[in-house]
Symmetry: C2
Subunit: 419 residues, 2 copies
């Protein structure tokens, strides 16, 4: 199918100006003074955003359905409607101080692909489907990536609908309040899922690339560490007899980062939380607890990183005469994307002469959940300074247009053109 | 005077058993289930403790007065009552979960000296005075070391009396409530001030010494440090482009401790508080703030330590591409004790064949304030595992007796024996 599609691929281009305008129009809803967006999941603003986009979907001739967790689907018939659809999508909910592109780009890019096909009167063989997933950000309701999580069976529908925000309001009720408590059962077969997204990292910009062909999602392991030394008065206690938990922890932190560095380019080692006890200016810390976040694209390397962590932590504990307890609290395996879909992304970028590179995603995306059940791939475009989840999040129109063209090509290549 | 006194020093010994019993009797008031004491300043328990001890002072024939900040003085006339007194003392208020010895030992040792002189019918040339200072611990009311602070002019009487606890209660009213709002003006000439105290550190125990001749109090400088890097997602951000504020801070922490170590044995370098921002498991820390506590016995060395701190911090900031701001927030100069009084302590320990060493105090004591205005010295005895400010605080009766004997000798040597 792929070979055939490539041979017959028409010379089509999306309308970059229209794509940009749609993004800017959507960004009017929940606009923040600092130029960002606040459309937190299942708030009135999210409802208004959904209404606006659903209107556009209908104008583009799509058949709109809403499932029981509030995921919105816009279907464009193909020639062979019994086949599972080629899907694209993302989310339009934002962080409380979010930007205009995270998620929205993927949805608007999918819509622009549909509009472009409509203008060119092209019918695909497989049907196409545009998905808007509920509550990707998890800023108000957990679990995060709720809609795609239920769609792919990572979470139950009941678990999602019963989730409550900090005010005690339930997803079930808030979905109804904004008119998106759908009736369609959650989940159906999907032939392929493509998601276009800003990178949310600095790599493409630093490497001067326009397209990132995302090979998969980094595996991630989280640890909780407790260092126990001895609490002592900072004045009367000579340096030589101290068992300073923070001094030991400072070496442990450095070793975590070293492990990330030694396993580049996909290795990550981060200590994001660190608490010092008792936390008094003139008391030598008796206890420190901190988190460790290790990531890599390959399970075998993650195993080696974890083994190294335990070994180095043991050495540091002995040298400092402190106790170091390490507990693994989370283990998300690496999620490779479907090779043949990633190749479609690379091929399109190559044909269009776009500067591209292979990349991985370190952040979570709906596509990562989709990849656990369906063939999936992602297309990254640069974002300014790698900044996301921030009102100053920014991306260049020509990069968004390029990413959208690659999405168009990949979807046509996968779905095929009707005879 | 000293030479004369030494020549005529009688062979006297305190009653160690009586000293121990007085400590245990006092410890009944505000006793905690874990074996400690809770007699927080100006509570009912502090009042009961004061009443008990004042009774003992009167039984010992002392003339008791109370000054306007609640300091209690017990005077024993000498042959030459126009001379300023040779004073000893400490405090009987405790931490909320304090021990039986911190402060109380100094007061009970002073009382035991008086009792011993009474039994031996010895009259000193200079009068003797036993002081019980108000609110040394500062657990309920600030400033800490309140009574001796006002006595020596470090704080005004008004400032002390207007201080409020967390419930809004004033020192002025709480002194009246327990019956210790005295009328005597605060402060009078003192010939010499000796204070016996448990070490509150591990040195004497580790060195197997019974007596520490305290040469003075370490100078202390406090700094507030802010490290600013760049907050980034732990997943999408490769190690090579990070500006991890915690990684830089880990090196800064190590350099503080190295500065303390390089200036042993009296050098101290401590980071007791460290906060990581934003403090999220999967976010590279963008900002870290922490405290620095540097101590040494000599101002010139403290100057050099501070200079080194700024230099090393600058280097680390440049290497990591982060900003490091350092602000000095406190500067307490070293307080040397009076050499001739320290020598009296050494001489007594030597004559009695007690294992002794020179030591400094890193913790604050009433004697440190006294030393800023009057000749002063301290006598340290070991405490178990160097643990203080804790219900498990412990000391050995024979060590307390030895310290009390040294106090006796030093006071007699200073005051002289009546002809």
């Amino acid at each position: 199918m792929t070979d055939h599609a490539e041979r017959t691929l028409p010379k089509l281009n999306v309308n970059g100006q229209r794509l940009w305008q749609s993004l800017m129009d959507l960004a009017q809803i929940g606009a923040t003074p600092a130029g960002g967006n606040c459309r937190v999941a299942l708030t009135a603003a999210d409802g208004q955003g959904r209404d606006l986009v659903v209107g556009w979907l209908k104008q583009a001739g799509l058949t709109v359905t809403v499932d029981q967790v509030g995921n919105i689907f816009g279907r464009r018939d193909g020639q062979e409607n019994g086949r599972p659809p080629v899907m694209t999508g993302s989310h339009i909910d934002t962080q409380p101080t979010g930007g205009k592109f995270d998620g929205c780009f993927g949805v608007m890019a999918g819509l622009e692909v549909i509009r472009t096909l409509n203008e060119a009167n092209i019918v695909t063989r497989a049907p196409l489907e545009l998905a808007i997933w509920t509550n990707e950000e998890g800023a108000r309701f957990l679990p995060i990536m709720m809609g795609s999580g239920v769609f792919t069976g990572r979470h139950t529908l009941e678990e999602a609908l019963e989730a409550r925000d900090s005010a005690g309001l339930r997803v079930r009720d808030e979905l109804a309040a904004i008119g998106y408590a759908g009736t369609k059962p959650v989940g159906f077969p999907v032939d392929a899922y493509f998601e276009a997204h800003i990178e949310q990292g600095p790599i493409l910009e630093a490497e001067d690339k326009v397209i990132g062909a995302v090979g998969g999602s980094l595996g991630m392991r989280w640890f909780q560490v407790v260092v126990t030394g001895m609490e002592m008065h900072a004045g009367p206690t000579p340096m030589s007899v101290r068992k300073d938990a923070l001094l030991a922890a400072s070496e442990l932190v450095q070793s975590v980062i070293r492990i990330g560095r030694e396993n580049g380019p996909h290795g990550r080692g981060t200590v994001g939380v660190l608490n010092v006890h008792p936390g008094s200016r003139n008391v030598v810390p008796g206890r420190v607890d901190f988190t460790v976040d290790l990531r890599h694209m390959e399970t075998t390397v993650l195993d080696a990183m974890e083994e190294r962590l335990h070994k180095v932590f043991g050495q540091i504990a002995r040298e400092h005469g402190v106790a170091v307890e390490v507990m693994r609290v989370q283990d998300n395996p690496p999620t490779p994307f479907k090779a043949e879909l990633v190749q479609l992304v690379r091929d399109s970028a190559a044909r269009r002469g776009l500067a591209q590179m292979d990349i991985v995603t370190g952040a979570g995306h709906d596509a990562v959940y989709m990849a656990m059940k369906h063939p999936a791939a992602m297309i990254f475009v640069p974002c300014k300074d790698g900044v996301s989840h921030n009102e100053i999040e920014d991306a260049r129109p020509e990069h968004l247009e390029a990413g959208c063209n690659v999405l168009l090509d990949a979807m046509i290549a996968r779905a095929g053109i009707a005879a």
